[in-house]
Each structure stands twice: as structure tokens, then as C-alpha cells.
């Protein structure tokens, strides 16, 4: 009898556990992947600048981002590999598509993907009260303003 009781208890446990595990398997990837939206403007030396929308996706393996203007024209894509701790820029528009500029921006973008890590030299990150993130590269005089775009409540 005790044996059979224990078996039925185990069965009941299994019956509850299997759907729970199934649910978790479906929920976890969604939670592990995060999509953030920002209104962005980047000020560059010489009074130049870029404005637009910035979308950042992060997950356990790294992340990716796209910066495009209000009309949909892309400034650049960036892919972050957590394993290599490196950012690779893709589809970069002309004024930024120079080897040195790409290298600097890639390093700057690393701060956005890995905020917990130590900020690289000559870079600072400030969080304003309104949620705006200001990333400054003092050496090359580049400032990135990223204001979170929150869903409008209807």
C-alpha cells in the first residue's frame, strides 16, 4: 500500500511537473530576449549629427542593434558577441564608414550591450531621471543620447 501511494503521488507530481516544464521552456526564451526602443541622436565633432530610432535586442549570447532615421534610412547595424566581448558594425552609412570611425563606434556600442562591465577608457555613461542614457566619448567628442520610447497608453 505505501508503495502504491507513493507511486500515485509521483504520478500526480509528474502530471503537474510536465506541463510546468513545458510552459517554462516556452517562456524562458522570450524572457531571455529583450527588445529596447530609443529615440536617438548622436552628436559628432564639427557640429555633425545623426538622429533616428534605435532598436536594441539583447540575449544571453550577446545582442544586436539598428539605428535608422525617421524615414527608415539606416545609419548602421551592430552585432555584439558576449563570448568574444566584441561589437561588429554592419551596413554603415558613408560619413561613418571609415575604418577608424567604425572602430570607435563599435567600442562605444559595447557600453550599451554590456552595461555591467567596466566602461572603456575616456567613456562615461549617465542615466538621467527621465530614463535618457547619455554615453560620451570624451576623447573623440562623440555623444550618444538615447531616450526610451515608451508605449503610448490609449
Amino acid at each position: 500500500m505505501p508503495y502504491s501511494t507513493s507511486t500515485s503521488r509521483n504520478r500526480r507530481c509528474l502530471v503537474r511537473l510536465v506541463p510546468a516544464l513545458f510552459l517554462l521552456a516556452n517562456i524562458l526564451p522570450a524572457k531571455a530576449q529583450e527588445l529596447r526602443r530609443y529615440g536617438a541622436h548622436i552628436t559628432l565633432p564639427g557640429g555633425k549629427g545623426i538622429s533616428g530610432i534605435c532598436i536594441i535586442r539583447t540575449d544571453k549570447d550577446g545582442g544586436a542593434m539598428s539605428l535608422f532615421n525617421e524615414f527608415g534610412i539606416k545609419a548602421f547595424d551592430a552585432v555584439y558577441s558576449a563570448g568574444k566581448d566584441k561589437v561588429e558594425l554592419r551596413n554603415v552609412i558613408k560619413p561613418l564608414n571609415r575604418r577608424r570611425a567604425r572602430k570607435i563606434i563599435a567600442k562605444d556600442m559595447k557600453c550599451l550591450f554590456a552595461p555591467g562591465k567596466k566602461t572603456p577608457k575616456s567613456r562615461t555613461i549617465r542615466h538621467r531621471d527621465d530614463g535618457t542614457l547619455v554615453l560620451s566619448n570624451k576623447r573623440f567628442k562623440i555623444t550618444y543620447h538615447l531616450t526610451p520610447l515608451k508605449d503610448v497608453v490609449e
Binding site: 527588445l35 526602443r37 529615440g39 541622436h41 552628436t43 564639427g46 557640429g47 555633425k48 549629427g49 545623426i50 538622429s51 530610432i53 532598436i55 535586442r57 544586436a64 542593434m65 539598428s66 535608422f68 532615421n69 525617421e70 524615414f71 527608415g72 534610412i73 539606416k74 547595424d77 552585432v79 554592419r90 551596413n91 552609412i93 558613408k94 560619413p95 564608414n97 527621465d130 530614463g131 535618457t132 543620447h145 531616450t147 526610451p148 520610447l149 515608451k150 508605449d151 503610448v152 490609449e154
Partner: protein
């Protein structure tokens, strides 16, 4: 997934077959009509729906909003959903606004920014059909609408996008849809509705401090 690809492929073939290239004479006439209408355009306002494919992020961004244009130098691009965000261009100044906060940027020293702003305004008004130095224009007839296919001639523009397709209403000779294809293959589609031409727009709408 396999079937979805097949359906998309069949749809693309059918769509291409439905397009009829306009003859040289027709094409010239169509361009003249659109450019004449664009030349008379003082103001333009409409609702827009913007759909952007971001293949890297494996997502489609869909947003809606209102657009206001005045006198060839002022453009207000106001997103109302899913987020509130405003891009306002007036002369050499740009104002970005979200969550009640605004930032003003001077764009007079940025050649690329100016170029992009010009393309934005010329696409929505149809003026880009006369930019023969910038684009190679092909006119098509697609059902009840005209389609202008613009391929950039200059290297600088070709780096920003590979093709712009303007869907034009033959009755009003105004653009109703703008499709922009990037080098990466990602597509942005802006559909304009409730279009009002030459209705008075207050200068205060475009004011930047």
C-alpha cells in the same frame, strides 16, 4: 514556412506581371503632371503608417503618425503609436521630442543629414521625379495607380538605399506610398492616408526654439 516562401514567390511574380512599364511618351507626361502638382504644393498633411523590416533583429517595426510639410523647408514627422516621438525639421534646425522633452540639433554642417532630409521631402511631395541628376526614373502602371521606380545615380545616394518606389494616385498626382529598399535588402514602407494638399498650416506647428 516552405509554403509561405512559395506563396510570397508566386505573389511577387504575379505583382511584377501586373506592372506595365509606361511608354516613353506616357512616362514623360506622367512625370510632368506629378512635377507640376509638386511645384504647386505649398502644404501637405496626412496620416502615415510606417512598416520597417529589420532582418538583423528578426522583427518588423510598425508605427503610425501624422506628417506635416510646408513650403519646401519644414517637415514634421510625428509618431503617435506605438510610441510618441516627433522629428521636426525647419531650415537648418531639427527638433526631436519625446516624453515632453525636446532636443534641438543644428544640421547645417552635416551634408548627409541635408541630403536625407531633401530626399524625405522630395519623396513625399513627388518632387524627386524631377531630380534627374540624382535618380534614374522608370514609370510603371500598376492597376489604378502609377508607380515611379527611382534608382540612385550617385554613389553617395546608392550607399543609403538601392531603390525608392513611389506609388502615385493619378487623380491627385500625389504620392500615397513610399517604399525604400536598403542595400541590406531591408524594406521600409510608408503608406499615407487622409492626404490634404494646400490647406493652411500654422507656422507655430513648425516652430523650433
Amino acid at each position: 514556412m516552405k509554403y509561405l516562401f512559395l506563396i510570397t514567390a508566386i505573389w511577387s511574380v504575379l505583382s511584377a506581371a501586373a506592372q506595365k512599364p509606361a511608354s516613353a511618351g506616357e512616362s514623360k507626361k506622367m512625370i510632368e503632371q506629378v512635377c507640376a502638382a509638386a511645384g504647386k504644393m505649398q502644404t501637405l498633411q496626412c496620416d502615415f503608417r510606417q512598416e520597417k523590416r529589420l532582418s538583423l533583429l528578426e522583427t518588423n517595426m510598425v508605427s503610425t503618425g501624422k506628417m506635416y510639410y510646408k513650403g519646401g523647408k519644414a517637415l514634421k514627422w510625428e509618431y503617435v503609436s506605438p510610441y510618441a516621438y516627433t522629428f521636426l525639421l525647419n531650415g537648418d534646425k531639427v527638433m526631436l521630442g519625446s516624453q515632453g522633452k525636446t532636443d534641438v540639433i543644428q544640421v547645417n554642417s552635416s551634408k548627409t543629414f541635408k541630403q536625407i532630409a531633401r530626399i524625405m521631402m522630395h519623396s513625399i511631395t513627388g518632387k524627386c521625379l524631377s531630380d534627374t541628376e540624382d535618380f534614374h526614373v522608370t514609370m510603371l502602371v500598376e492597376g489604378n495607380e502609377w508607380v515611379a521606380e527611382l534608382i540612385p545615380r550617385q554613389k553617395e545616394l546608392a550607399q543609403l538605399f538601392t531603390r525608392i518606389r513611389l506609388h502615385i494616385d493619378p487623380k491627385s498626382q500625389t504620392a500615397t506610398e513610399v517604399e525604400l529598399t536598403e542595400k541590406s535588402g531591408d524594406l521600409t514602407r510608408i503608406t499615407m492616408t487622409n492626404i490634404k494638399k494646400n490647406t493652411p498650416l500654422d507656422d507655430a506647428l513648425f516652430h523650433i526654439d
